[in-house]
């Protein structure tokens, strides 16, 4: 009757992982089972192809970008710890977190979630979403359904609306400001049922 415990003991540094990410032991076990299920060749880590085999992800217009978020630049493997750490961004906000400026920002705070989304746009990680980067995202999301002119006009208008300091690019603060009314916790969280 302790199949949870036996699985937990297989994961190295699991206590540290739980501290860092805030997942409960039951959730860690589920994510571990999922990790093992995705790792079809049992390499001990996931490659981009393993993610690519998820059908719903393959048909998602920004599927490739999401997959890219799991891998550090130049890397082709993500281990279980990194896997869980990325998914921890999507844990629902902890309502009772004390506002202590000395503790580091938890991994699932509103700011961290926004930063994750920001990095989906900002592929070269220079801290700004340039017009070219925005066009790229629009292109992957809309591909052959719209003309180049339509894409450009959409991109220009979006930058115009959000750009506050007039540098024709969207910085993280401008990004955050333009989304301040959106319920981030609801839209960027995954809730485990059990």
């Amino acid at each position: 009757m302790g199949s949870n415990n036996s699985t937990l003991s297989k994961i190295p540094n699991v206590d540290e992982l739980m501290q860092e990410t805030g997942f409960t032991p039951a959730h860690i076990v589920r994510l571990y089972d999922r990790f093992k299920a995705l790792d079809k060749d049992q390499k001990g880590h996931l490659s981009p192809q393993d993610f690519g085999s998820i059908k719903e992800l393959a048909m998602n217009p920004i599927g490739d970008r999401i997959i890219g978020a799991f891998f550090s630049p130049g890397q082709e493997a993500v281990d279980f710890h990194s896997f869980v750490r990325i998914l921890a961004h999507f844990r629902p906000l902890d309502k009772n977190r004390p506002r202590d400026p000395n503790t580091p920002e938890p991994i699932n705070s509103r700011t961290s979630k926004l930063r994750f989304a920001f990095q989906l746009y900002d592929q070269d990680k220079d801290g700004k979403i340039s017009r070219a980067e925005l066009l790229q995202v629009l292109r992957t999301m809309l591909e052959m359904q719209v003309t180049e002119e339509q894409l450009e006009s959409i991109a220009d208008r979006t930058i115009q609306e959000a750009d506050l300091d007039g540098d024709s690019a969207i910085s993280f603060d401008e990004f955050r400001k333009s989304l301040e009314k959106v319920n981030i916790d609801h839209k960027m969280s995954i809730r485990f049922l059990r």
Binding site: A37, M59, P61, A117
Partner: protein, 443 residues
């Protein structure tokens, strides 16, 4: 020494006569002594008690409504329009230039992450999880130690299942299979006549009934008036090889399948002696015309038994019905749909062929509490005017899913091994583009 041998021999004799007398003979004639009913009632009571105990043990813990949910994460089933609409509510709609916001990406992002944690297709190829533990080690996922009594009950269950029920069931199954081989070979020696057909049906029925007892299967048949008739095609959703035993307990079918070697091959060869089944060589399977032709010929002959086909082509975990392959629906003839739903509380019937081979799967079956299932015979359907095979297949699939309380999915079961087509992604892009630029987007 002599005494102990005598004792063992007497024991074995008593054991066998008990099995034959109490279980096999009644089973062969379709009667029941009521032993199984008593067992099942006791089992239900015990499991109810265990469930209450577990719920008490968990105490104040927040349990979200998850009685029959198949997922481990909460999903918003809103459409793309609804979700994006909610995201965009925070700003006024622009005059021209299309309607795009930076927050649109949140919707796709969340869908993507959700699918990384759990996706619709892979989910269907693992066993369904129970809302409450049924005292089998194999279904224990989230349940920790609660009380001593529960542990004792579980231990008792292990002893009963492995030391008493399993040998009993294995004996029954072997008797059933040997009787099938011997009986059909004997019947095969007779010349073709009505008597031969009648005898062959009798032999088949008896063997499947013994095999069903060998699994402690309790089957409830509904709407027996819709049972498949000669010259028809019976289609059903596929969960495990046991489906055949379940269906054949109540009627005789002509089986369709590949020729195997070994024990299966022996059974196949003897079965075909007494009544015509359709076995294909591996090489013949590739030739679709040949396959369709043989099936057509069989269906055209009204004296032959109805064919049994599982159009999904692979075993699914009995929570959903996946795409039906159109081949079975191109043969013509009346289709008799059948829905099979297993009750997972007593034993999980799903064969995860990636995880278990046939022998370990059968052993798992024989060490479960029981196999309980419902079989619904649906009214016969035929292809309508102007309906092509794919639409017909989908119509039958929906009827089966609706009756069995299963989720109707249009994913291909074969996708568990293959890649997704580009067209799916394009569909998503199209839907999104109509929200961004409106419906007059250029192609």
């Amino acid at each position: 020494m002599e005494d102990s041998w005598d004792a063992i021999l007497t024991f074995v004799k008593i054991w066998f006569s008990a099995i034959v007398g109490l279980i096999m003979l009644p089973a062969m004639f379709g009667a029941s002594l009521g032993i199984t009913e008593v067992y099942m009632k006791a089992l239900v009571k015990i499991l109810e008690w265990a469930t209450l105990r577990l719920q008490r043990g968990r105490g104040e813990q927040q349990i979200l409504k998850a009685s029959l949910s198949n997922g481990i994460i909460q999903r918003d089933d809103g459409s793309m329009e609804k979700e994006l609409g909610e995201l965009r509510r925070s700003r006024p709609k622009p005059q021209e230039g299309g309607d795009f916001t930076l927050s649109d990406v949140f919707y796709f992002n969340r869908k993507g992450i959700e699918s990384i944690v759990e996706d619709e297709v892979t989910q269907r190829f693992t066993s369904e999880e129970l809302a409450s533990w049924n005292l089998l080690t194999r279904t224990n996922n989230n349940f920790h130690y609660i009380s001593l009594r529960l542990t004792i009950l579980w231990g008792l269950g292990v002893v009963i299942r492995y030391c008493f029920l399993a040998p009993l069931r294995i004996t029954l199954a072997s008797i059933g299979l040997s009787w099938l081989v011997i009986g059909t070979s004997v019947v095969g020696l007779l010349p073709n006549s009505r008597a031969k057909n009648w005898l062959s049906e009798l032999v088949h029925l008896m063997c499947y009934r013994i095999c069903a007892r060998g699994l402690s299967a309790t089957i409830h048949y509904h709407n027996k008036e819709n049972r498949p008739k000669n010259g028809g095609i019976c289609v059903a959703n596929h969960t495990s090889p046991i489906d055949i035993v379940i269906l054949a307990n109540d009627g005789c079918y002509a089986m369709v399948g590949q020729v195997h070697g070994g024990l299966m091959g022996v059974i196949q060869r003897s079965m075909v002696k007494s009544c015509p089944h359709i076995w294909f060589e591996r090489s013949e399977m590739k030739d679709r015309h040949l396959v369709t032709q043989r099936l057509k010929d069989h269906v055209a002959d009204k004296t032959k038994l109805p064919i049994l086909i599982f159009p999904e082509g692979t075993c699914i975990n009995n929570t959903s019905v996946m795409m039906f392959k159109k081949g079975s629906f191109e043969i013509g003839g009346t289709i008799y749909p059948v829905a099979i739903k297993y009750d997972p509380q007593f034993g999980d019937a799903f064969w995860n062929s990636a995880k278990y081979n046939m022998v370990s799967y059968l052993l798992r079956m024989m060490t479960s509490w029981a196999i309980v299932c419902n079989v619904w015979y649906l009214p016969p359907m035929s292809q309508e005017e102007g309906e092509d095979a794919v639409q017909f297949a989908n119509r039958v699939k929906s009827a089966i899913a609706h009756q069995g309380g299963l989720v109707d999915l249009s994913w291909d079961g074969g996708l568990k091994r293959a890649k997704v087509k580009e067209t799916y992604k394009e569909q998503q892009q199209k839907m999104y583009s109509s929200m961004v630029v409106g419906d007059d987007s250029s192609d």
